[in-house]
């Protein structure tokens, strides 16, 4: 007995498609509903930031990092300033570090809200979870606006600290915002984790074995979803993460559902971290004085943070000039795409969309 073989044809998922989250294209060869080949096409949003950064001073480069992963600008700022501080050997005061942790974790909350919401949207839940997520994300963005004046591209971190001290009333506002999150996470958990349709759509879809995940350099929830306990906040603590009590959530099978549930649990952990950071917010200056035209000594540095999408690394090479000789971003969502083909081929078109949603890409970061 033979299976019925259709005529394969190519279908372009993107560049303008509701589920590619930006101008990103998958050239999928499909046989009926089954994907037999997938090719990624990107570069629609390429702005050559790495080249532009070589023309600007170290401080001037901070706004660029906002615009790579525009959904987690605080984490991007943080990774970059950490790299510069490592290169130049600058110490950050305690208060500055605590503020950085608070902001980075709030950014993780906001970004995971978007990730979880968009992912459920990709599975076909008609906008409801994403709207709930947006409701809480808005409050986080309000906090950012209160602190840095901007909502999306905050440009808040500075080399040696943060741009401004926390405004008056921030702590109460932050606690009020935080209070909403456990409820949101429980709501999402109740609505999706127990939903048979959602489980049927996500469980066993886009399975990544731990070996595959490691070999394909995946990071963040993708890696943890496959059962690898890896979190740079724990493994290589920066900004005093070793003082905070939190845990790393890891998945079981490495399927789309595990990535989703890991993100949800990470949000819970972030809430925990922020509460601890707010409780023990030290006094003192928020920043050290750093010369405007900073000239770090000759050398190179690779610093990374655990961004919402995974290991966000910055590789800087200095030649004692006022601007980096080489500025390289290790973009988590770009490298997480490495395994897209392996995860989608063999599944249906609908599965491919779910897998893409579970990777949680930001096209600004892929193309840079």
């Amino acid at each position: 007995m033979s299976t019925i073989q259709g005529e394969p044809f190519i279908i372009n998922i993107g560049p303008q498609h509701p589920s590619t989250h930006g101008v990103f294209r998958i050239k999928a060869t499909v046989d009926g509903e089954r994907v037999i080949d997938a090719e990624m096409v990107m570069g629609y949003l390429h702005r050559s930031m790495e080249k532009l950064a070589e023309e600007r001073t170290y401080t001037q480069n901070i706004p660029f990092t906002d615009r790579t992963d525009y959904l987690s600008s605080m984490s991007n700022n943080l990774g970059y300033v950490l790299a510069v501080e490592k290169l130049a050997g600058i110490d950050v005061p305690d208060r500055g570090q605590a503020i950085r942790v608070i902001m980075a974790e709030f950014q993780r909350l906001a970004s995971h809200c978007m990730a979880v919401g968009a992912f459920t949207n990709d599975t076909g839940a008609w906008q409801t979870p994403i709207m709930w997520c947006f409701r809480e994300r808005e409050k986080v963005l309000d906090l950012f606006e209160m602190t840095s004046g901007a909502r999306l591209t905050c440009n808040y971190m500075r080399i040696g600290g943060v741009a401004f001290d926390l405004p008056k009333g921030f702590e109460e506002a932050a606690r009020k915002t935080l209070a909403g999150f456990p409820q949101l996470i429980d709501e999402l958990d109740a609505m999706l984790s127990g939903n048979e349709i959602f489980l049927a759509r996500t469980k066993g879809v886009g399975v990544l074995t731990p070996e595959m995940a490691t070999n394909a350099s995946l990071t963040g929830p993708m890696l943890r979803g496959s059962g690898i306990a890896w979190d740079i906040r724990k493994a290589d603590p920066y900004c005093g993460y070793e003082q905070y009590d939190f845990q790393i959530p890891i998945g079981y099978n490495g399927d789309s559902y595990d990535r989703f549930s890991v993100r949800l649990e990470e949000m819970r952990q972030s809430v925990k971290i922020i509460q601890q950071a707010l409780d023990r917010l030290p006094g003192g200056p928020h920043s050290t004085q750093v010369p405007l035209a900073l000239r770090p000594p000759k050398g190179e540095a690779y610093a990374r943070v655990e961004g919402p999408r995974g290991e966000l690394g910055y590789y800087l090479v200095s030649d004692e000039g006022p601007s980096p000789f080489r500025f390289h971003i290790r973009p988590p969502s770009f490298i997480n795409l490495s395994a897209l083909k392996e995860m989608t081929v063999g599944g249906t078109v609908a599965d491919a969309i779910v897998v893409l949603g579970s990777i949680d890409i930001v096209v600004g970061e892929i193309d840079r």
Binding site: T57, A216, D236, P237, Y302, G313, G321, R326
Partner: protein, 174 residues
């Protein structure tokens, strides 16, 4: 804390696994000879002592006189990170062996380095211009690529007297 392996440790490990593979050593990194690159990387990945199973970052750098490809390798269990490098001095056709057979994650990063720096990764299954379109003139991240219109030279012209480059002649890669 992640332990950053020093150049000596990295070189010792590479020499132990593949004798004669180390080109030179610096305090924080270790240069591998291109002809031994893939062999050494495979050995480092599979060696239980080093356990560098994870390619954290792959990045090409243009140093005017040479191209370097930087590999940041990571071990989860040992929690250590090491920086290996591989360099080529040929500016016309820089060729470095591909490590895609060792790490699948290198695939797109090597594509990117090829697209922006023009480093050809030998043995890469699908080397193409991942961001820019086919036929794009030149390699934008090279230091001699003149990107600005009007014949302006790249550099910090707005900071008087701090132009640090310009010594080597600027070529139009058109």
């Amino acid at each position: 804390m992640t332990r950053e392996l020093t150049g000596e440790e990295l070189a010792a490990a590479a020499e132990r696994l593949v004798p004669g593979s180390v080109a030179r050593t610096e305090p924080h990194c270790c240069y591998i000879k291109p002809e031994h690159l893939r062999e050494t990387m495979t050995a480092l990945r599979d060696d239980p002592e080093m356990d560098l199973v994870y390619l954290a970052n792959l990045c090409g750098v243009d140093y005017w006189d040479r191209f370097e490809v930087v590999y940041h390798l990571h071990s989860f269990v040992k929690n250590q990170i090491g920086t290996y490098k591989c360099e080529t001095h040929d500016r016309e056709k820089p060729v470095i062996p591909s490590v895609v057979p060792v790490w699948h994650g290198a695939w797109m990063q090597e594509d990117e380095a090829y697209d922006l720096l023009g480093i050809v990764f030998e043995g890469h299954p699908n080397l193409y211009r991942i961001f820019l379109w086919d036929g794009y003139p030149g390699w934008p991240l090279r230091k001699d690529f003149l990107s600005m219109p009007g014949g302006l030279q790249p550099g910090l012209n707005e900071f008087a007297g701090v132009s640090r480059r310009g010594e080597p002649p600027v070529r139009m890669t058109e």
